[in-house]
């Protein structure tokens, strides 16, 4: 389970030790530093780091942006497990017996300072798998006038993989990424599969040829740590196995894919008018007057409890 869903209801220990692995580029050395902070119910690791920065030590450097698990910039290693610090409750990691949280920068990423890591390589690898739709019709691709036709089940086939927020936790957890710098990593490969499985994409031959030449797909050994740490349940491990099956089929000349056609944009059909009653404006509501001031709803239209 990526997140202990009950943790937020528990109270963390009153005082928690936060042990942070720090690194200063100008001193050129790393060290461990321990802070003691008071906690409150619902405090996350990111809250704790912010509190340390505000009250104890303002030289501590870390990266964050949205504080709600959307931007993917706050990845750190908490007690040996790659996590989004904004989504990790202190009460999940610190117990009354051992009120300690150990925070390290993400494994397998070069550390710039303290908890801030360099994502250049990560995004270069992301770029390598061509994370965009490839269409054979150049004219239509550059100046689109039509829409793609896609069935709901074709959307389901890749929807899960579009949820990735590029936080890098999967690469930090992967034992192969750790020992093989040429391995593209779970994130990039999940994206490769996301575009291969997308029925709007026509570049499957190019994608499969490139993946075959790169060989990264065959380096995976299904330790599945990527899927277990992913905060968005993207399941990169499953994606890599499916890529491998696709490559096997391709090498046996069995690979088939239905690609979407371009169709005329949908038009609202005339039978939809007049609108069904629930979509019609309420009688007695003056739209123009409402746009000027606060909305006024006639008394008799208000629902009573």
């Amino acid at each position: 389970m990526p997140v202990d869903l009950k943790a937020v209801t528990r109270r963390p220990p009153e005082v928690v030790k936060v042990r942070v692995k720090r690194f200063h580029p100008e001193k050129g050395q790393g060290w461990w530093q321990t802070y003691e902070i008071k906690t409150y119910r619902g405090m996350t690791v990111l809250d704790a780091l912010l509190k340390i920065k505000a009250e104890v030590d303002h030289t501590l450097v870390f990266r964050y942006s949205c504080r709600m698990g959307v931007c993917g910039s706050c990845g750190v290693v908490v007690n040996g497990e790659p996590r989004l610090s904004c989504q990790t409750q202190i009460s999940e990691k610190a117990t009354p017996e051992r009120p300690e949280v150990v925070v390290e920068p993400l494994y397998n990423f070069p550390v710039l300072r303290d908890l801030t890591t360099d994502f250049t390589e990560f995004f270069e690898k992301h770029r390598k798998v061509r994370p965009y739709l490839i269409r054979l019709d150049k004219q239509e691709r550059e100046n689109p006038a039509l829409e793609y036709e896609q069935r709901p089940e074709e959307l389901e086939a890749f929807y899960e993989y579009t949820l990735c927020i590029s936080c890098g936790l999967c690469d930090a957890a992967c034992p192969v990424y750790a020992s093989n710098p040429r391995f593209l990593g779970p994130q990039a490969l999940a994206y490769a599969y996301r575009y291969l499985a997308d029925s709007r994409d026509e570049g499957w031959r190019l994608r499969l040829e490139e993946l075959e030449r790169d060989g990264s797909v065959y380096r995976c050994h299904f330790a599945a740590s990527c899927s277990s740490v992913c905060p968005k349940v993207v399941d990169p491990a499953g994606a890599i196995q499916r890529l491998r099956r696709a490559l096997l089929a391709y090498n046996l000349r069995l690979f088939k894919k239905r690609t979407a056609k371009n169709v005329e944009p949908m038009k609202v059909s005339a039978e939809r008018w007049p609108l069904p009653p629930e979509a019609r404006l309420m009688e007695g509501v003056d739209l123009e007057a409402q746009e000027k001031g606060a909305p006024v709803i006639p008394k008799e239209k208000l629902l009573e409890d």
Binding site: Q29, E81, Y107, V111, A173, G238, R244
Partner: protein, 152 residues
């Protein structure tokens, strides 16, 4: 002066028990065991080649007699042999599971929309049950072989 700290875990990541700290990830433990048993098997094959080669010069019968002598009772050589057998059993069984999962993408569930409790489909699929089956089966087979080797 180091401007950037390299933080790659390197080959150590293949043995570090991150599997114990990661939630819900027996696959990682299976992976670590697969690596370790693989190394044991490579060592065993080398030892096997050396031992059969040097002794076989005296003829097949004498070699078999020596081997049987070595494998009777509890001594370092029979224990090493026993460990190698255990490694082979686990490596083989887990290898079958990995073949099905990795080459054919069997047992890893279907892509689905995330819903509570937010477990990735490949971690819920049949391969998870297969891991426990591999663990249990290899222990049973290993114990049976040990019984035959040492107490029969």
């Amino acid at each position: 002066m180091k401007r950037i700290l390299e933080n790659r875990l390197g080959i150590w990541a293949s043995f570090k028990l991150m599997g114990a700290t990661l939630n819900n990830n027996p696959e990682r433990i299976a992976f670590i065991l697969h690596r370790i048993t693989g190394i044991i098997l490579v060592g065993f094959i080398f030892a096997h080649i050396v031992s059969t080669n040097s002794l076989a010069r005296n003829g097949w019968e004498s070699w078999v007699a020596v081997e049987v002598e070595h494998l009777r009772g509890i001594n370092p050589i029979s224990i090493a042999f026993f460990i190698a057998i255990g490694a082979a059993v686990y490596h083989g069984l887990n290898g079958i599971r990995l073949l099905l999962v990795e080459a054919l993408a069997l047992w890893i569930g279907k892509p689905e929309r995330p819903k509570p409790p937010y477990v990735a489909p490949s971690l819920k699929g049949f391969q998870r049950k297969a891991i426990y089956a591999v663990f249990v089966l290899s222990i049973i087979i290993w114990a049976a072989i040990g019984y035959v080797m040492f107490f029969w």
